[in-house]
């Protein structure tokens, strides 16, 4: 009936070895097999971005990937952002700037923007909005999310400059 494969995947720094149905999506693997329900399903057709995780560092739609495609790769989900229960700078900025309301799209946006800020340390507002265009939010109107991302960029630059 269904085909199973054994996969080894490192998720948020922890190694897992599991047998999965070959047709199971990466999103469902994370949510159901590993109990990491912070990654959300909003459309399952690759538009809304709620399911975004980082695969070997790259932001990807976990709803459009199969779990078997993550074999021997690393995955970071929203649960892996905070260190020792301390919010990451971006998470803290979301809190400070009221960048979430219902919170359902938030995990996907955090993953997308964490990668974006690593690659774009000094973004303009227009660049932030363009980078956000793969994540739909129906609650906030985006403005506070943009503020939070810009504030994080500043905070991270200040931290780097202070360390120099």
């Amino acid at each position: 009936m269904t085909d199973t494969r054994s996969i080894v995947v490192v998720v948020n720094g922890k190694r897992y070895e599991r047998a999965v149905d070959t047709r199971q999506t990466l999103a469902d693997f994370l949510r159901l097999d590993l109990g990491l329900t912070g990654t959300h399903l909003g459309c399952e057709h690759g538009v809304c971005g709620a399911c975004t995780v980082r695969l070997d560092g790259a932001a990807v739609r976990s709803c459009l990937m199969l779990a078997v495609q993550a074999h021997e790769k690393t995955v970071q989900t929203v649960e892996g952002l905070a260190g020792n229960d301390e919010l990451s700078p971006l998470q803290q900025a979301f809190h400070d700037k009221h960048a979430l309301q219902c919170g359902f799209c938030t995990s996907g946006i955090l993953m997308t923007m964490t990668e974006f800020l690593e690659e774009n340390p000094s973004p303009t507002e227009a660049e932030v909005r363009a980078a956000l265009s793969g994540n739909i939010c129906r609650c906030t109107g985006y403005q506070n999310i943009v503020e939070a991302v810009l504030a994080t960029a500043v905070a991270l630059r200040d931290k780097r400059n202070a360390a120099l």
């Binding site: 329900t37 989900t77 905070a82 809190h95 009221h98 739909i136 129906r138 403005q143 506070n144």
Partner: protein, 790 residues
């Protein structure tokens, strides 16, 4: 801790869990032994079911049950889904939980498959063999209203299920001997809420207790419970409905959907919890939507452009059944008058059944549509008289000195619309000043010289908020001193756990961290209505205030007896009841004075009573109080939105350059939260003005069933939103609050449309529809759009 919490913007208590991926949405809940359900849905908009054969589906390993109408428990076969809002003019039409014989919209649930997991359940869906006989479908409500139209249900005499007249003043006199009469036909297209978290429910039936637990992503579990008690003869304590975290609601999650009692039936039959989560394709066909609305209106004005009367018709696409009666189009009709003096008003509303999924309130709940109608008419008057659009509005405003102002129209709460407070002229002035309205024509002329087409638009709205009948709060201090507020309010992002904590915190003299707000659970408070219609701050906020005041008084009364002081000299602070100030000439060091205090825990223990001892003065036990604040009527907020846009005349693309909203919702509990609600609401308006069209073909087949075809506003589509707050406190509740949840949406569609039309005025383009899409703009421009770069 001496700063007041009300009016401050403390950061949200909700955030930490959500940010760390520890939110608890329905699909995150796993119960032991849980099965998964999937629904077989009609692929035709109108069809008779001739036969169903589930044997192949049942044979698939991992499938545990397939239920059709015939397999439902007796009460679900005998009783249709309940109607909560009947109306004398309405011929109601409600569905059975699964289609009995005649499917009436694409997506209507015909059967349910229960399996080990969702993958297997979906494998089995096409194995349920159903023979459909296709029937003619009603797709357009205007056509559907005609006697020659096919019937949306075979047994209907007419698709028109309600004809309601709203009438104020003498409309005949208003139009008699009047020189200036202008007619507008305005079409507002179907669209939907499209929250990011699809609907879902988990039913867990405990056969030993005969009790049912239902987790559901909703806007109010109490009303869901009420509906289920109509369908299942459970006792009040045998049914508990719980709504955990909700990923957006915007209206449609407030309905009682057929899937919920069906999932319950599955759990009852199988003796296991059963989970159903809607996927996005189902969401496009089975979650309620809003509109179409066809308006045909005539406005009569005097020589000074002052309105004498307004009359016309609204033909409303209700969809296939009437779960919300005529509430939605009625709200539209009652909203049209807006902030203007309207001596006579006469609208006939026709609500028409079509073979589409039902139309029920979506953010704004019909009010934005009413605003679009009135504001398009105002712009028409301005054009005809060659007057400035703002000036026409100024001449017609209700003045602050006229408050309270009886509009005359009867609202859905059965009472006449009476605006209690607000300064409409000041609100418009504030918005126009902020957007630089005075200089705009000059900017526009300069732009045109560079072949750029910019335009400006205004929208004024008065919105009924704080709808009754109540939202309660049970405030309790436990015997260990912990303070809890339980309410029927059910947030889907509106920050109730923070804002309601702020109100309670002020009475207890603590920070919001010391107040735990519990929402969305029928077991935690007896009566509830839910969070929708911008009602929670007014209703629940007032109840939290009243109940907290009572508990504080009780605490002081008990402490006064124990400390042998007067209650009036006591205050609550940081978990204690203590002397507010040192007694005159006491000569006691301040440290000692603070020892003259009792902790809330101690007082709660005293209030709980001791075996063998009577309660003091016959007091009721417990340091607790329940309040159900009841609004006498809606309280009216208002806003003015102004938009400046640029239109690319080759592509039809609209860019919003500036968007300003001047807004009055009375006193603000948490300004940060209000601003967030307003900005989110504006994004919905942008969607409704420019992007969102739920498209059906002429056989009522939904054609736009994914986010590539139904467009939601994305980050580059929403500009920075400039918000100006005015504050006219409401006289109708103790805190002076008005609702704000829909304020960003209601006034904001009209000015975007108006601005596009204004930008294209050199080409004589007139726009009488929403949304206005690039294709349509190019179509309206005709030859003027061609060859600009050649």
């Amino acid at each position: 801790m001496s700063t007041s919490s009300f009016g401050a913007s403390p950061k949200r208590k909700e955030d930490r869990d959500l940010l760390m991926g520890r939110g608890r949405f329905v699909d995150d809940i796993v119960l032991p032994g849980m099965y998964a359900a999937a629904f077989v849905r009609s692929p035709l908009a109108h069809a008779r079911i001739k036969s169903i054969d589930a044997s192949a589906a049942l044979a698939r390993p991992g499938v545990h049950a397939v239920l059709t109408y015939q397999d439902l428990p007796a009460t679900l076969r005998e009783r249709r889904m309940p109607l909560f809002v009947p109306h004398p003019t309405l011929t109601p039409r409600m569905q059975y939980a699964l289609v009995k014989e005649e499917a009436c919209y694409v997506g209507e649930a015909v059967a349910v498959v229960v399996a080990d997991d969702r993958y297997i359940a979906e494998d089995a869906l096409p194995l349920v063999e159903i023979e459909y006989e296709s029937l003619p479908a009603v797709s357009d409500c205007k056509l559907g209203a005609s006697p020659a139209s096919p019937r949306a249900h075979l047994d209907l005499e007419s698709n028109v299920v309600s004809r309601m007249i709203s009438s104020v003043g003498d409309i005949v006199a208003a139009f008699r001997d009047v020189k200036h009469v202008f007619r507008e036909e305005i079409f507002q297209h179907r669209g939907g809420a499209f929250f990011m978290e699809c609907r879902g429910a988990i039913a867990s039936y405990d056969a030993a207790e005969g009790s049912l637990l239902l987790y559901v992503s909703s806007q109010g579990p109490h009303r869901i419970k009420r509906g289920l008690l109509d369908l299942y003869d459970l006792s009040d304590t045998q049914l508990r409905v719980v709504t955990p975290d909700v990923g957006g609601g915007f209206g449609p999650k407030g309905s009682l959907y057929a899937e919920y009692p069906v999932v319950a039936a599955c759990s009852m039959k199988l003796g296991r919890p059963v989970k159903w989560i809607e996927d996005r394709r189902e969401n496009f066909v089975a979650t309620h939507q809003e509109r179409d609305q066809y308006w045909d209106m005539e406005i009569a004005v005097d020589d000074e452009a002052r309105i004498r009367g307004l009359r016309g018709t609204l033909t409303h696409d209700n969809g296939a059944y009437t779960p919300w009666g005529i509430v939605l189009p009625w709200i539209s009709v009652a909203t049209v008058p807006g902030p203007y003096v309207l001596p006579a008003y006469h609208v006939e509303l026709r609500s028409v059944l079509t073979n589409k999924v039902m139309a029920t309130p979506v953010r704004g709940a019909g009010r934005p549509e009413g605003v679009v109608v009135m504001e398009r008419l105002m712009d028409r008057i301005a054009r005809e008289f060659n007057l400035d659009a703002a000036e026409v509005r100024r001449r017609n405003f209700i003045q602050p000195s006229q408050m309270p102002y009886n509009v005359g129209v009867i609202f859905r709460d059965g009472r006449p619309v009476v605006y209690d407070s607000g300064d409409y002229p000041a609100c418009q002035d504030a918005a126009l000043k902020a957007i630089g309205y005075a200089d705009f024509r000059q900017r526009q002329a300069e732009a045109r010289r560079q072949s750029r087409y910019i335009g400006i638009g205004i929208g004024n709205a008065v919105e009924g908020t704080g709808l009754g009948p109540y939202e309660g709060a049970a405030v309790k201090v436990a015997t260990n001193g912990r303070i809890t507020v339980s309410t029927g309010a059910t947030p889907q992002g509106q920050s109730h756990k923070t804002t309601l904590a702020q109100i309670a915190a002020d009475q207890f003299g603590v920070s919001i961290d010391a107040i735990q707000v519990e929402t969305g659970d029928t077991a935690k408070i007896s009566q509830g209505i839910g969070t929708f219609a911008a009602r929670t701050a007014v209703n629940a906020g007032s109840s939290v205030h009243v109940a907290s005041v009572k508990v504080a008084e009780k605490a002081k009364a008990i402490a006064a007896k124990l400390l042998d002081v007067r209650a009036e000299d006591l205050e609550l602070r940081d978990g204690y009841v203590q002397l507010a100030a040192l007694p005159e000439g006491a000569g006691v060091a301040s440290d000692n004075a603070r020892q003259i205090r009792k902790s809330l825990a101690e007082l709660a223990v005293v209030a709980a009573g001791m075996p063998g001892f009577a309660m003091q003065d016959g007091a009721e036990p417990g340091l607790e109080s329940i309040a159900y604040f009841t609004a006498t009527q809606s309280t009216y907020a208002n806003g003015t939105a102004a938009a400046e846009v640029e239109v690319d005349i080759e592509t039809g693309r609209v860019t919003i350059l500036r968007l300003v909203l001047a807004h009055d919702c009375g006193r603000l509990i948490n300004p940060m939260v209000v601003d967030g609600q307003v900005m989110g609401g504006v994004a919905h308006a942008i969607g409704n003005a420019l992007y969102e069209r739920m498209i059906y073909d002429d056989q009522a087949q939904p054609l736009s069933t994914n986010f590539g075809e139904y467009l939601l506003p994305l980050a580059p589509d929403v500009p920075r939103i400039e918000i100006i707050h005015l504050e006219t406190p409401s006289p109708l509740n103790p805190l002076g609050i008005k609702g704000a949840g829909e304020s960003g949406t209601i006034p904001t569609i009209a000015p975007i449309i108006a601005a596009v039309e204004d930008a294209l005025s050199p080409f004589g383009v007139k726009i009488s529809e929403a949304p206005i899409t690039p294709q349509r703009i190019v179509e309206l421009l005709g030859d003027a759009a061609l060859g600009r770069t050649r």
